[in-house]
């Protein structure tokens, strides 16, 4: 089994649309993981029949009991996260869950309570099993939730003897991205040919290098920035990275999304050919797998 994470650094480059398209091209249906637990969108294209729902609880939150509090102010003094208000009540959004205040309170007036920060799901879709999640609004620990869905996806893919586990990564380079890249065989970076896109590509590639993940690049909407596309190609050449394809800008991406299908199911023209070619270049390249 091969595990592939599709990432981008910059948001909105077309990760999810392309991943859904790649999935639709496979005869042996893959297992899909939506690793963007903050703003999970893959199911909007693949659809999802939810088979299993699980609570995600990875952190604790401080709750003060005003009846026991003697207003000594120690919690306010010690908290480094600005979670204690002037009246010694606790702000659950700012609370980091470190328990410092609870251990230190001389009156034992602070309790650490488990916090359900989200849910994760196993679903059936037209394009294979999907493991996805919904992190609660303004919640933390997205990296841990990504790890849960990634591990569940791996377990399903191994159990069902799948050829591919495809992980849709979150934007950025922080903790959820690191979790989405952990232990995968290869990363496919969807780059946007803009000054931002090039800058973010370099940063996300350095994260791949840092963790020893082999990365290849696919440019999306390459014709909206011909000059920047050339720069990305030159950059990849210099870095010894495989460029698997260049996908043109096409309104069909959005039209397909509105219909709730991968763009490869929506159109049969040149656009589909480019996507098929990019995927084939990726999986057949000797330097990648």
């Amino acid at each position: 089994m091969k595990t592939v994470t599709v990432i981008s650094g910059k948001g909105g480059t077309g990760k999810t649309s392309l991943l859904a398209s790649f999935a639709s091209l496979l005869d042996n249906k893959p297992v899909l993981v939506d690793g963007d637990v903050d703003a999970a969108n893959l199911a909007l294209i693949t659809g999802a029949d939810i088979l299993e729902t699980h609570d995600f609880s990875a952190s604790k939150v401080a709750v003060a009991d005003p009846a026991k509090c003697n207003n000594c102010g120690l919690c306010l003094e010690l908290c480094r996260f600005g979670a204690v208000a002037g009246d010694y009540s606790m702000d659950p959004v700012a609370c980091e869950g470190c328990s410092f205040c609870a251990y230190a309170c001389p009156e034992g007036a602070i309790e650490m309570r488990d916090k359900v920060s989200g849910q994760w799901f196993v679903s059936r879709t037209t394009y294979g099993s999907l493991v996805h999640a919904r992190l609660g609004i303004a919640e933390e620990n997205s990296g841990k939730l990504v790890t849960i869905v990634r591990n569940k996806g791996r377990e399903l893919a191994e159990g069902e003897k799948k050829e591919y586990l495809l992980i849709d990564g979150p934007p950025g380079i922080g903790c959820p991205v690191i979790a989405a890249l952990s232990g995968v065989d290869a990363a496919l970076v969807i780059a946007e040919p803009t000054v931002s896109g090039l800058h973010d590509l370099e940063r996300v590639l350095s994260v791949c290098r840092h963790f020893g993940v082999k990365a290849s690049v696919c440019i999306n909407r390459y014709d909206l920035g011909i000059e920047q596309s050339k720069q990305i190609e030159e950059y990849c050449l210099k870095q010894g990275l495989v460029m698997v394809g260049k996908i043109p800008y096409d309104r069909a991406f959005v039209e397909a999304m509105v219909q709730g299908v991968p763009v490869t199911e929506y159109t049969n023209g040149a656009l589909k050919d480019e996507i098929v070619a990019a995927w084939k270049n990726f999986i057949n390249h000797p330097a990648i797998f």
């Binding site: 910059k10 999810t16 010690l78 959004v93 303004a138 922080g174 803009t194 000054v195 840092h210 963790f211």
Partner: protein, 284 residues
């Protein structure tokens, strides 16, 4: 007055709005802070001269083994499993440490001090009248909120501060948006845009921040985002149609307001409407 520019979905045009808004207003008391420390981009468009640079870190424990009795109290109070105490050794897993300071406080032998583990760089400078600041998270680093907080601390009272937030709705976004007077939510009229706008709108409601919506590439997709805004009572302050010329300028890092008097007017007007809706307007 702090105005945050946010969006659940990435790539909807937050940075474009933040930079063009700042340039269109271009007044002496305006600051632009890029709080997307994972992928900071505003400087590529604003092209500021940086004159200040500082390493930002979080405090992590250092154990003095001469003093340590291996009692294990530090490990017991650590909520993040960042300290393991063995028979004659203490292991500190710095990447897991959130810097709360609990271990040092509770060590009965006072054997724990703290040193700063660098997580990124804070930089500031100016572009014309605009003061600019951003943070750059070190690649491989997971902990972004302390760096975002450091960028936000550059905001000064009595000034208009535009804050470019990271995408999403979890801790880094909350760090960037919390405490702002108004939030501009940038979206696109697609199913992804709608889904993530809904999440972002729930987030700013939870943080009790008034918001308006900007619909980017407004002629591509469907009409459900506008319907949603009507239902939720979210004002649509600006619609920006897809335009190849805009996309080309953006690709090259050129802010549209510097190339077009028409867009200059549009962003000036957007600022007026935003400031008018802002709960902190009296502080202007």
């Amino acid at each position: 007055m702090n105005i945050a520019i946010a969006s659940g979905k990435g790539g909807t045009g937050k940075t474009t709005v933040a930079v063009n808004l700042a340039l269109a207003v271009n007044q002496n008391n305006l600051d632009l802070l890029d709080c997307d420390v994972e992928e900071p981009n505003a400087h590529l468009f604003l092209k500021p001269n940086f004159d200040f640079k500082k390493e930002i870190g979080i405090p992590v424990p250092v154990i003095d083994l001469e003093q340590c009795t291996f009692c294990g109290r530090c490990s017991e109070v650590c909520a993040f499993n960042a300290i393991a105490v063995l028979k004659d050794q203490v292991m500190v897993l710095e990447e897991l440490c959130h810097g709360c300071g609990s271990c040092a406080y509770f060590c009965p032998e006072r054997a724990i001090s703290e040193h700063e583990r660098p997580i990124g760089i804070l930089e500031s400078g100016s572009a014309g009248n605009i003061k600019f600041g951003h943070g750059c998270l070190n690649p491989g680093e997971a902990m972004s909120p302390p760096l975002i907080d450091a960028v936000k601390k550059m905001s000064r009272p009595g000034r208009v501060t535009i804050i470019d937030a990271p995408p999403g709705t979890s801790c880094p976004v909350v760090s960037a948006v919390n405490g702002c007077d108004y939030c501009l939510l940038v979206t696109e009229p697609t199913p992804f845009g709608l889904h993530d706008l809904d999440l972002a709108s729930q987030m700013i409601k939870k943080l009790d921040i008034p918001a308006g919506v900007i619909i980017n590439r407004s002629d591509v997709g469907d009409g459900r985002v506008e319907e949603y805004c009507r239902d939720q009572g979210l004002p649509v302050l600006q619609k920006i149609p897809f335009d190849r010329e805009l996309a080309r300028l953006y690709a090259r890092g050129e802010p549209v307001v510097l190339n077009s008097p028409r867009w200059q007017k549009i962003f000036e007007e957007l600022f007026r409407r935003t400031a008018g809706n802002c709960k902190g307007v009296s502080r202007l």
